[in-house]
C-alpha cells in the first residue's frame, strides 16, 4: 500500500496544510510534513484546492439486484467515487426488495468486492415495501451489513401504526426510519408539483401538503415514542418550517435535501421533457430558497443525492409514461457549491458537515465523516472550487445517462478521491488500477 502526501491544499476551515496518508490512515496534517516516511510517499498536487473529508451519501439507488441494466453496485460505486464520495447508501427498492438479511448482505458484499466506496445497504421498513407488515429489521441490523437506516423509499410508510411500531422497534439498535413523506391519496397519479405550472400543463398536481402532512405526523410520532426519524428529500418550504419547529422542541428529527431540489424548479416541466420528472417533484423558486436557507442554518442536516439511474427507454417517452428520478452522484458537489458556496450561504466547513460528517452520523457509519484528523481512515475528497466543467451525459460513470444537467457548465470539480487511503480518482478521472475498476 502506497503512502500519499496531499500537497498545497487548503482544509475545510481555511487552514493551509499538507495531509500525509499512511497505511490507509491520516498520519499527519501540517504546513510541512515532518514524518520521515513522507519523503517516499506519492505527492498529489492540491494547489488551489480544498481538501475535504470523503462525502457520504445517505440516499442512493444502485438498482442491483434486479435492474442491472440501469446501474450496478460497481457502476454506482464508480459514479460515487467520481463525485468525491467514499460511502453511499443503497436504497431498498431493488428486485428483490432489500427486506431480508440475505439481500442486504448481498448488496454489502458487492460493495466490498468493488471496493472503491463503502456501500451501506438501507433495509426496507416493511416487507416488499408494501407498507403492511414490518420487515425483519433486527435480522438486517444483526447481519454482516449492520443496517441502521431503514426506508421504504419510493413509497411512504403511510399507515400510522406501522410507522409508530417501526420507530419504536429500531430503538433497540439505535436505528433510524428514513421516511419518504408522501401521502399516497393526495398524490394518486401525480406527475409534478401542483401549482401554476401543473395547471397550465395539464399534468396532475402533487401538492406540497401531501409531503408536509406526513412530516408533521412523523415528527409527532417520533416525539411520542422518543425515537429518531429522518425525512428523506424535503422539497417544500412548509416542510422546512415543520422540521425547524420540531428541532426547536427537541424532537430527534434529521432531514435531507437533494442537490436538484436546491437548484431546479417546476418551470422546467414546461418542456415536457421527463428528464425533469422526479419524485418528489421539483417545486417552486420559493421552495428552493427555503431549502437553501434550511440547509444553511442546519434545519436540514444533510445533502443526499437520491441518485436514481434509469434506462434510456424509461425517459424517452411521454412525461406521464416516464420513470421518476435523476442521476446525482457525479454532480452533487458542483450543485451544492453552486447553490450554497458561491452564494455565500455556506462555508466549505459547512459543506463538509452536510455532505460528510452529518450523514455519517445519522447513518451510524463510524469509519466515515470524521473530518480530517490524525488516525482517522483516509477518506478524502479534493475539490478545486475554481475549476468549472461541462456535464456530458455520455461521459458519466453511471450506467444510465439521465442527468438533468447535460450541457451545463458547473462550478467546482472533484480532482481526487481517496477511499481508505487509496486513490479512486486522480486528476478527475477514475483510477484504473483500483480494485473493481
Amino acid at each position: 500500500m502506497s503512502d500519499y502526501v496531499i500537497h498545497g491544499g487548503v482544509l475545510a476551515d481555511g487552514r493551509k496544510a499538507d495531509v500525509f496518508i499512511s497505511e490507509g490512515r491520516i498520519a499527519e496534517i501540517d504546513i510541512a510534513i515532518s514524518n520521515p516516511n513522507a519523503a517516499k510517499a506519492i505527492r498529489v498536487d492540491a494547489s488551489n484546492c480544498v481538501v475535504l473529508p470523503g462525502f457520504v451519501d445517505l440516499h442512493t439507488h444502485l438498482r442491483e439486484p434486479g435492474r442491472e441494466d440501469s446501474e450496478t453496485v460497481a457502476s454506482g460505486s464508480r459514479a460515487g467515487a467520481k463525485g468525491g464520495f467514499t460511502a453511499v447508501s443503497a436504497m431498498a427498492n431493488t428486485f428483490p426488495v432489500a427486506d431480508t438479511a440475505g439481500v442486504v448482505e448481498q448488496v454489502y458484499a458487492l460493495g466490498q468486492a468493488t471496493g472503491i466506496v463503502d456501500v451501506f445497504p438501507i433495509g426496507a421498513v416493511t416487507q416488499g415495501l408494501a407498507g403492511q407488515a414490518l420487515a425483519e429489521l433486527g435480522a438486517m441490523a444483526d447481519s454482516k451489513a449492520r443496517v441502521r437506516v431503514f426506508s421504504d423509499d419510493g413509497n411512504c410508510v403511510f399507515d400510522p401504526i406501522v410507522m409508530r411500531r417501526a420507530l419504536e422497534y429500531v430503538k433497540k439498535f439505535d436505528g433510524v426510519i428514513a421516511q419518504h413523506a408522501q401521502d399516497p391519496h393526495l398524490t394518486k397519479d401525480a406527475q409534478m408539483n401542483e401549482g401554476i405550472v401543473s395547471s397550465r400543463l395539464g399534468l396532475k398536481g402533487w401538492p406540497s401538503v401531501a409531503e408536509e402532512s406526513i412530516i408533521a405526523r412523523d415528527v409527532l410520532l417520533a416525539d411520542h415514542v422518543q425515537s429518531r426519524v429522518h425525512i428523506c428529500h424535503v422539497t417544500t418550504s412548509g416542510g422546512v418550517e415543520i422540521i425547524r419547529w420540531a428541532k426547536a422542541r427537541g424532537i430527534q428529527v434529521s432531514a435531507e435535501v437533494t442537490p436538484h431540489h436546491l437548484l431546479l424548479t417546476d418551470e422546467l416541466a414546461r418542456s415536457y421533457d421527463p428528464i425533469y420528472k422526479v419524485n418528489p417533484p421539483l417545486r417552486t423558486e420559493k421552495d428552493v430558497m427555503a431549502l437553501r436557507e434550511g440547509l444553511a442554518d442546519g434545519t436540514i442536516d444533510i445533502v443526499a443525492t437520491d441518485h436514481a439511474p434509469h434506462s434510456a427507454e424509461s425517459k424517452e417517452c411521454e412525461w406521464q409514461a416516464a420513470a421518476f428520478g435523476m442521476l446525482g452522484l457525479e454532480t452533487a458537489l458542483s450543485i451544492v457549491a453552486s447553490t450554497m458556496i458561491n452564494t455565500s450561504m455556506m462555508s466549505w466547513s459547512d459543506l463538509a458537515d452536510r455532505m460528510s460528517t452529518a450523514p455519517a452520523r445519522i447513518g451510524g457509519y463510524s469509519d466515515h465523516g470524521q473530518s480530517l484528523r490524525i488516525g482517522a481512515s483516509a477518506h478524502v475528497a479534493i475539490v478545486n472550487p475554481t475549476k468549472s466543467w461541462k456535464v456530458d451525459r455520455d461521459l458519466v460513470a453511471s450506467r444510465s445517462r439521465n442527468t438533468p444537467y447535460h450541457g451545463m457548465e458547473l462550478p467546482a470539480s472533484v480532482i481526487a478521491t481517496f477511499y481508505k487511503g487509496i486513490p479512486t480518482v486522480l486528476e478527475s478521472q477514475l483510477v484504473r488500477s483500483t480494485n473493481g475498476i
Partner: protein, 317 residues
Amino acid sequence: MRHLLSAADLTYSQAIKILDTAQEMARVSEGPVKKLPTLRGRTIVNLFFEDSTRTRISFEAAAKRLSADVINFSAKGSSTSKGESLKDTAQTLQAMGADAVILRHSASGAAQRLASSHWTTGSVINAGDGTHEHPTQALLDAFTIRQHLRVSTGDLRGLTIAIVGDILHSRVARSNVHLLSLLGAQVILVAPPTLLPLGVETWPVQISYDFDAVLPLVDAVMMLRVQQERMNDFFFPTAREYSHYYGLNADRLGLLKPNAIIMHPGPMNRGLEITAECADSARSVILEQVANGVSVRMAVLYLLLAGAPNEVGDQGL
C-alpha cells in the same frame, strides 16, 4: 411555424390568419366540388393513441378535401402498457414518409414531446393531449363565435364567453382560455371550486361559482363534458347536484341574452351538463361547430404544409 401544439403558441396575427383562411375553406366546402389540389402527394397521418372518432374524421375530411393522402393509425396503449411506444410509432411513420402527424394522446405534452424529439421531421398537430390542450377545437370555437357574433372577420373584442364545467381536466378549456383571450374576448370560467385548477387566478379570466349570475352577461356559453369517472373522485356530491348548479336547462336558457349562443365540444352527456332542450334549441350552434371543425383543420393543414415538400411550414403561419 412548423407545428401546432398549443393555442398558447399562437400570436394574434397567426390566429386571425387561421380564422380567415378557414373562412376561405368554408366556401370551398359549400361549393359543388369540395376539394382543393393543394396537398396532393403529401401524406398525413392521423395518429390516435386515444379513441376520438369525431376528431379523427374531422381531420381526415380536412386532409382529403386538400387532396392529401391520409393514413389512420390507431395505436392502442403507450409505453406505459404493452403497446408500442410513441417513439417507435413515430419513427415507423417517419420511415414511411409522413409529412405531418396529427396526434391524439392521453398524455399531456405528448405532441410537444413528439415535435421536440428527433423521432419525426414532419409537422406535428396536436389533436388533444391529455388534460393539456386541444388547439384546433379552440380555433373552431373561435371561428364559430366569430361567424355568429361578428361579421366573420376580425377578433372577438367586446364579447364575453363563459366556459362551464370541468375546467380542471379540460384541454378544450385550456386552449380556449388562451385563444379567446388572445382574440380580445372576456372569458369567465364557471365551475365548482373542486373543478378549477390551483392557480387559476393567474389565468387571463374571471372566475365564478355561480352559473345563474353569469348567464345574463355572456354572448356565448360553452358547456364542457363531465366525465363519468369524476363522480367517483369526490369532485361533486352527485350528478343531480352538479346538474342543479351547473347544468344548462330550459330555465337557465331564459337568463341568456337574446343573441347568445350555446356551444359544446361534444360528445354531450344529455341530461347532465346540458338538457336536450338546450342542445337542440335554436340558440345551439353545436352542429355548426362540427362543420366548422373541418374548415379550421383545412386551414391549419394548408398553412402548415402547403408549399414544396421538405420545406414544411412558414407558409404565413
